[in-house]
Symmetry: D3
Subunit: 316 residues, 6 copies
């Protein structure tokens, strides 16, 4: 069974794939066909199923796993599958849609344990209590949601994986710069993207909620902190509270990117830089995974529209 | 008694003025002098009191009203007073520092009545209750604070005067565009700068508080709304609440100016434009008041560093 | 008869519409079809008429009113009409293309009366004479032309409607700020976009003329003022003339938008802001009219590519 | 007699110089002194004349030529003259202020002849007549005015020298690119800055006039062309007229620099580039003239704040 | 035989053309067709050859000259050829692909002679030796390569033609400004784009090499100079060497365009401006050549997305 | 003996300090005084020594260590020392200027050992040989030079300290992201700023050399690599060489900051981010060291002109 990322143009192949999209359309001559996108864990590819009869339209719907036999070709410079034959899986063939979606490189259990240990390391009692309070409230969603709609970490569990990776970086960077307050670094990182569970509609078919559109996750986490301190009876005028809120509000670094204030605490600046580092690493790695050594990736818009070269030591 | 704005270079004059600043310094030859700034309701001017003996240093201190006889001259292109003689006010001479500071063109009583009538016009019950709740909490400060530290409406009562002027503009603009929701316009305007009473240290010698620096009045008012709805037991997920919060968060118009979200509700966009209009009117009028027809004002930094011409129909 | 703006995806409908465009094309298989756009007063929608024979091609041409029966569907995310049946209107069915185009919300007669009253309010004799002179010259075109090729007020009569709305705003804003010179405000507004009657080719199928492309309406109105003062024998060196010309030249606010000078007269700045306000109101309202409450408009490029939310109080 | 540009720090020197500025000031101890700036054809330098008695104040006034003996020193990093002795010129010593100001490298007579020959080369009758008409009107001022207030060609006759140099460049560039219309190039260049004679107050102590400030030389020359065609009875709708006006309006190249339209005719683009070339050459040469080989000039703001290196082949 | 640039929409025509591209595709109904682009010396145009059988697919391949009979039509606003009939050239019909590609306006022999004379004019021995050394090394490629992949001078021999035109401009500009060091101007121009022979893959089907992508021609020519001075045993610390390297590194003018240093030598600035002038002339001329007088060109992206008007004196 | 960073305004203090600057000036009344700047390891402060006689002028010169008794005061908002008494150190009092300059937090021996171990970790033979070759050539200077003229790491040994800190960060970040090529990371970091030893004049009174100004350290290190591969007889066309050169050329991240190419290799991007992180950490820490908790630092220009808050856990 061939993984989509390993297919070369011209390859005839077969295997099981998930139908990500299946739209009924008409040719200009009026004949119905299905415009489909197939995916597996390693990538995705589109193609048209011509002469789709009613049975096919009802059978091959979005979200189903199917067995496909087809050829990968180029159409106007973009790869697609042609000469498609489809059938439903039989007997013991894998059948679970979840197995065909990209997933976090680390499993949820490990992430839970790491996050839990990390919370334990926050020595400042105020911050520790606030973090615990908010994690208890959003525990389930935090380990399910992606970290972004389309760019980096846009997979189930992406939010917790991104958060955990940033926390790891913070621990290591604090070893190099002992003047950084590690408790603040960890508290800030654990909460910084948490309100994406309010901003986004869910882990699947992620869209923005009304609050996501009109308020945004940066102000929404600030509101969560306000609510937490009230419920925990922490003094709102305590400097530690103001500083934690600043770190969260400033984590996009620039006002152009939606932070109402720029980082003006040393830890706020470093958290912002760590966030950028992990986001760019994830985008570069994802793009480089799709190509073979000696090629350049397509241009990556959020990385200033740069494309990246894959040297020969990066085998797939 | 001459008002400072009417003084020409070369004029010898006398009158009562407020000492805004009085710093003891030394000439290069080691002799003490007082570097002073005097003000009245119409403007301010600096000058040095030479050969200041201990008695003078103790007498002529910041915040005192004094009788001055002096000459207005130019020093390196900037006006200053020279040949200064000072004494304290006598008998019935005016003596109240408040009378020598710029003040709101409208008195507090009128402003209070206008604001009160305006709140009454907010027909949406949710918004009306939130506005009343927050106005009750910050009533006193709202009518005392300036609207800005240095640029526009930087005088005692400036915050309420700016707010009331914007509300007047909103009422008139809603007559032209009946599709605008007047309740939302008024609620948004009444609250938009309210958190400056938290951002600023006070009505006098205004500086930024720690929360002002690290969080800013835009997020602080959002927090006030969150607190209000909890205390008033309003549902946080109500669309009206999200919309009011959006209008407040977006009122700076651009993320570069500290709004975490850009206006995406029609009323949010119009409030932003009204805010710009009133701020620029106040800055232009203040600058034009300092010059005579036929001249150009100094460059005004927040107005893209433009200078403005005073035509002859604008007498002082 | 269904209005286009009220159609839902999936609706089968019928009614009379105007053919805005009808291009003969070929399918890839070589068969002719008509690529059409239909419009009524409330919106427009495209669709293909398949298997178009010679008779159909000759009958269903651009500018004709037709009776259509069809279904609204989605094609690659954009709405279009399919399964189209067309015939010409019969008997008493409406047949006048004018009735199927968007039009100014106020009729020409009311606009003419309002503009006439407004000119009367210009008390400064110089400005009044110049305005009258130019209005006499371009009277007819002024009430026919749109205010823009594609963005705001891009309908017949849009120029006069936009101008009148701005004048109304100016009158109201002058009540709030009595230091503004109302005569200058009105004279500036009445003339500011007048040279669009030279810049544009006409009220229908509007394109740019050579002068529009190479000189632009901002400099063209300046030239009209120069010509007017010569014909009226007004002294070109009079300060009032220079000021009026400045107000007109500066009305785009920024040099990047084609104003050779930035506003440096208080009234010039306010006129620029009123212009922006009315243009953005028109663009927001137009976009919001196309959608139902709870949705967001498509992104509006000249409003910094923002999309706007339609709250539920905005019924259609 | 030492030229100012040849003075080294530490040099004691004497010679005749022009007083460019002489302001009476007081030391902090109350003693009067004259803050002066001296100039000759090659540069200028400031210094204070201490203990200035009434006679000195009356004698050594702005605009007088004086004999000075002094020492060039550094004060806070900037050169100034100290230990100043001054007297008026005697007998046959040079006495004419004009001889102490920077001047055009080419004399007026040569410039007049070159300009006259250049007009003759404009073969298009329309452009030729317009150019002649406007040159006749402003002949005197054109050969007296500077081309800029402070940056490039800021000397008497600078306008005609800059214009002539650009015309020379145009003739040579047209030899390389024969598709360029040389008549249009020359007509455009001859007129492009002509309205600086309206924008500026005069050749001495140049300031901006009201029209200069509020309208600017780009629109002012457009008005001159409009007036010329009317007086010459040339049809305003002739394409040649529109093109000439476009070339003049577009010569600043970017709207940010005050051109209401960007160059959209090939010749307009090239004229803009020639203008930039001559302005930057003049600024670089002027700055390099003030320093010795091996040094870098001060930063030149209008050249993106760059400083330039003077290689050893550029002796003074 | 009709040249492509002279074809009007609607013209039926015939003639010999080069197949620039021929991709086999399928209609939605599954029928094969060839998506083709044809070119001659004056332009290019696309079109589809329907019902392409195997023989046609094998015969009409990229790089072949063919006889075509067809009609020029508009498809969605863009011109294409339809109703295509193709056959191979017969007997004495022209058959050489080279004759159907755009070419340098000057032939290689003339360019070689001009370049040779120009090198001879470099009087500074250091620069002369470096230039000779590098020209000897890359002689062949220099006269074959284009000067750019897609924008200006993107034809065979474009690199030498662009270089020679710039040298001509430099000679003429040095006559106007005698303070410019002509030897440096010529040496800098001759070498400035030379490393495009390393940056590009070749004269045909030009792509970027790995060094082109990751290092770029600006640093690559610097490396060539370093190598040359070592082989010629010239002292690397000589000021002349540093200056030549600076001129080459700075020739893109702005760091945003890939120059690691901005021009800080007068000659470096002027070379940059000459480079811009020739590039923009070539782009404007090429675009204007495709249209008839009275039209505007399509927008030219590297010229700030402007479009240019073709006046009637520019016949084709 | 009081350290400068611990002085409060108003403190009378005494101790040994280094004279960083001592300029002879005159009061306006003509009396000589010394304008001085004093420094110790923790900071610096200015002040004037009045009535400086010839002996004092000769004794208290730049570079001498002196015993000072004085008072710290504010003059126009900036701290300075007044009422200064100075004498030379006596007997056993510290006398070595080096002890009064800021220095690297780690001593040279430790840095040398760390760098040596780091080179050893470069497993790729090509990169290892190139790094060794260049380190051998510039060994001495590398451990003496600062990393910048004024901003970050502007102290003796700053270059090696900055390089070593970045290498530490790289090692830790590679643990988090195992797909990064650690050899390339380390080789790139070790060389990235090495050419500052050519760009700067030396460790003391650092200025830019001619090559520093006109070529810059980014291209200079590229040249060093070219020379190294020639001397080591490594093939210039090897991909590893091109990649290393790319990493060095791209380390400023943006072309605006002088990189001729943007990072297009994953490791190049990460090295750039590590460089930014260490530079900003050093600037923030240095600024925070000068103030007490509860204050904000002055604005730091290269950090987007932000100022930073010092929370109370950051004792000095």
């Amino acid at each position: 069974m061939t993984q989509l990322k390993d297919l070369q143009v011209g390859d005839a192949f077969e295997g099981l794939y998930l139908i990500k999209q299946a739209d009924l359309r008409q040719t200009r001559a009026g004949k119905p066909f299905l415009a489909m996108i197939f995916q597996d864990r390693t990538g995705q590819i589109g193609g048209n199923l011509w002469d789709a009869d009613d049975h096919m339209v009802e059978t091959f719907t979005k979200g189903k796993v199917v067995y496909m036999r087809a050829v990968k070709e180029l159409y106007q410079g973009s790869p697609q599958v042609n000469k498609i034959f489809l059938r439903l899986p039989e007997n013991t063939e894998p059948n679970n849609p979840k197995d065909f979606k990209p997933k976090s490189p680390v499993n949820e259990q490990e992430l839970r344990e790491y996050i839990s240990r990390t919370i334990f390391k926050i020595e400042n009692a105020t911050w520790n209590r606030i973090v615990r309070h908010i994690f208890k409230k959003y525990d389930k969603a935090f380990f399910e949601y992606p970290a972004a709609k389309t760019n980096h970490h846009a997979f189930e569990g992406g939010l917790s994986f991104h958060t955990a990776t940033m926390a790891q970086l913070a621990e290591k960077i604090c070893e190099v710069y002992p003047t950084l307050n590690e408790s603040l670094m960890l508290a800030g990182i654990l909460l910084h993207d948490m309100a994406k569970v309010i901003e986004f509609s869910g882990a699947e078919n992620t869209t923005y909620t009304l609050k996501g559109n009109l308020i945004g996750h940066i102000v929404l986490i600030d509101e969560e902190v306000s609510e937490a301190i009230r419920e925990l009876d922490i003094d709102n005028d305590k400097e530690d509270v103001t500083i934690l809120r600043h770190v969260l509000l400033a984590h996009h670094g620039l006002q152009e990117y939606g932070s109402p204030v720029r980082p003006q605490i040393m830890e706020a600046e470093v958290i912002h830089q760590i966030d950028m580092l992990d986001a760019s690493m994830m985008m570069m790695q994802t793009a480089l995974n799709q190509i073979v050594p000696g090629e350049m990736t397509p241009r990556i818009f959020p990385l200033d529209n740069r494309n990246f070269y894959k040297p020969d030591w990066q085998s797939n």
